[in-house]
Subunit: 397 residues, 2 copies
């Protein structure tokens, strides 16, 4: 009998995608499903970004440089300068989505058996990349009561062992929407210096901040060798399918090692690099418009949620996610029930149970993540469904 | 001091790309460099394939299904049927290049410490993927004297240990151009059954066979659970930059585990999936034309090489590579010397030293790989350079 590898067995299935068959069945029954479960924005990809690809003239779809097209990396230097990050084009490796940037970081800086500390709830796929790399994720719990603020540094220190090599943050955060404060970033800075740790900073949602400004890990002083920025154009320009991200650091040894992993897989996708490069030339007010749209959605969804009986939703400072605590027994069962057994005016809503975002077993059972990637009208209808559902859900607490 | 991971240190640098600075310096001096060093075809990507992307009408560049677009996978079923491979669309996972298909295979079927046996010389990046997966590559040597035929099965058996989990073949082969015979494939079939091994079959060059027909690993009977096909559109349609490949197996457990790795990285690139899908509708004679072109190049390069004094180049049956044994001391030094210290009529040639394709240290020092990805005129000029170079190279043997 041929066997699957242990890591193949240990690899977690997507906590969100496991509900997909129930959503499909609901649709087949004629129920409209509002998808607040995934971070696929409905915002149109800017026309000039798609047109750059559509109007391209090359005749051979060639490999690019393993680090990505030089012209694109040079343009990215401008973009990063505009957000206060000063780097040169050799400090950027274009990756296949933010996913590959995370993989390069884990592979380059961590060995099997090493530990990374991540504030939970966290982006579920960090688990998958950790399993692939043989790395252990050690969660430090943040709490919905204070809006998922950075846990006290002492909580991190309790978890630091000789095997701890890195801290991973996502800022603004997926799934919580939390935006780390200047003070919290300073605490992280001191900690990584004190304990000689890498700081992997996933800043996919940089532009989407509604309360204050994002402090990038690359803004921190004196930690150039520690910080690795993992970035992506997916959310920024509503270009998730391009699969273009970036691995950025000023640590030359890390860059050199990451380049070897980049060379092994030859190059990032060529078409979408053209899109990414064109996006740098979007008018300066592009983000104002999308940000205003997301902010109005956030305001609506938070208001609607908190108006429901015994529902609590802290106001997220960024990204396009909100976490809510519901008066339910089990979020996994509830989310499945919404699709399988509930409808209101032939409609229902698909949410992400928060359990998949926690590393500690048992946490998040009363919480769900809502991605506000639908227009205001649809968000209202989705909230109508949720409100009605909470009135009649059998596992109501 | 922050340290790079051990695997980051162990990761091999690309044996070909290390010569790039010398090529760039030669060009700056005004020397024309004929690139026979990499498998980037000069053949134009079919216009209808590029046009499919350029004429696309979607408004949001969305994630695709983690396994790739269903419409594309269904079309691929037709393509594979046309080459005698009967699979269904659920047995295909679209990958980010053939590279990712190899990674999924290593991650899904092998654990750190496991061994894979690969006939050498082999595609150098298998080493990189093995290091990333913590897997040990055990080479079995094939020889230029018999055109790099499959080594006798006894040579494989000598290397099989309890840790051996898979055999990797590339057929037709990169770097040797060797096309495995029906008898050799049958020997492999018996061996993987006898020793309960996976057979990872990289068939990137399937269409480019000049002597006889390719026997796919998926044509073998009674080994459905053992065989994993790693494929790519890169060479087939001269679409290397698309980064679209496929991971194909009838082993449901392997598929289920591979899907978890596919979900973690969300989806393969969307633009190039459109290109890949369009390519299935190319006229039936598309490969005839490209194959005829490559065959004439092969015939020329092999003839030119064997006409040089004490040069031996076996006639490759497929792919677009030839390996040649040269009367030189050290292929790495020679290839660098060609770029750094030699020119003939202001021209020189860039070759790939074969040492990087061998797993056993010291092998391949008199061998080079030539990718016949240039037109006949350029191949002739490149061969003129090589012929002159061999007359005056100081390390001539």
């Amino acid at each position: 009998m041929l066997e699957i590898s242990q890591r193949g067995q240990a690899m977690p299935a997507s906590p969100i995608r496991k509900l997909v068959p129930y959503a499909e069945a609901a649709k087949k029954r004629g129920t409209k499903v509002y998808h607040l479960n995934i971070g696929q924005p409905d915002i149109e990809t800017p026309k000039m970004v798609l047109d750059a690809v559509r109007n391209s003239h090359f005749k051979v779809l060639e490999y690019s440089h393993s680090a990505g097209n030089e012209s694109y990396r040079k343009k990215l230097v401008e973009y990063y300068k505009s957000v206060g990050i000063n780097i040169n084009s050799n400090q950027i490796i274009i990756t296949t989505g933010g996913s590959e940037a995370i993989q390069f970081g884990f592979m380059t800086c961590l060995d099997a058996g090493d530990e990374v500390i991540i504030p939970e709830p966290f982006y579920a796929n960090y688990n998958g990349f950790a399993v692939a790399a043989g790395v252990t994720v050690v969660p430090v719990t943040s709490h919905i009561e204070n809006g998922f603020a950075l846990p006290p540094i002492e909580e991190f220190e309790k978890k630091i062992t000789p095997k701890t090599k890195a801290i991973v943050i996502c800022n603004p955060n997926n799934p919580t929407g939390y935006l780390y404060t200047e003070g919290e970033m300073e605490q992280l800075r001191k900690m990584i210096l004190k304990y000689n740790l890498y700081l992997f900073s996933d800043e996919a949602y940089r532009e989407f901040c509604y309360e204050g400004k994002q402090i990038s890990a690359m803004h921190l002083e004196g930690v150039d060798d520690n910080v690795i920025l993992m970035d992506t154009i997916s959310k920024r320009y509503s270009a998730c399918g391009g699969r273009i991200g970036a691995f950025i650091t000023k640590n030359q040894s890390v860059l050199d090692a990451a380049m070897k992993f980049a060379q092994a897989r030859l190059s990032p996708p060529s078409f979408a690099q053209i899109a990414g490069e064109a996006a740098i030339d979007l008018p300066a007010d592009y983000f104002d418009t999308t940000k205003a749209e997301y902010k109005s959605r956030r305001d609506l969804i938070v208001k609607r949620l908190n108006a429901m009986e015994r529902v609590f939703c802290p106001n997220p400072g960024g990204a396009f996610y909100a976490m809510a605590k519901l008066p339910i027994d089990d979020a996994d069962i509830f989310c499945q029930w919404l699709l399988e057994s509930f409808s209101f005016q032939d409609q229902t809503v698909m949410l992400a149970p928060a359990t998949g975002f926690y590393g500690s077993p048992g946490l998040g059972r009363q919480e769900v993540r809502l991605a506000y990637v639908l227009n205001l009208n649809d968000i209202n209808k989705a909230m109508d469904c949720l409100e009605e559902a909470l009135k009649i859900y059998p596992g109501k607490m």
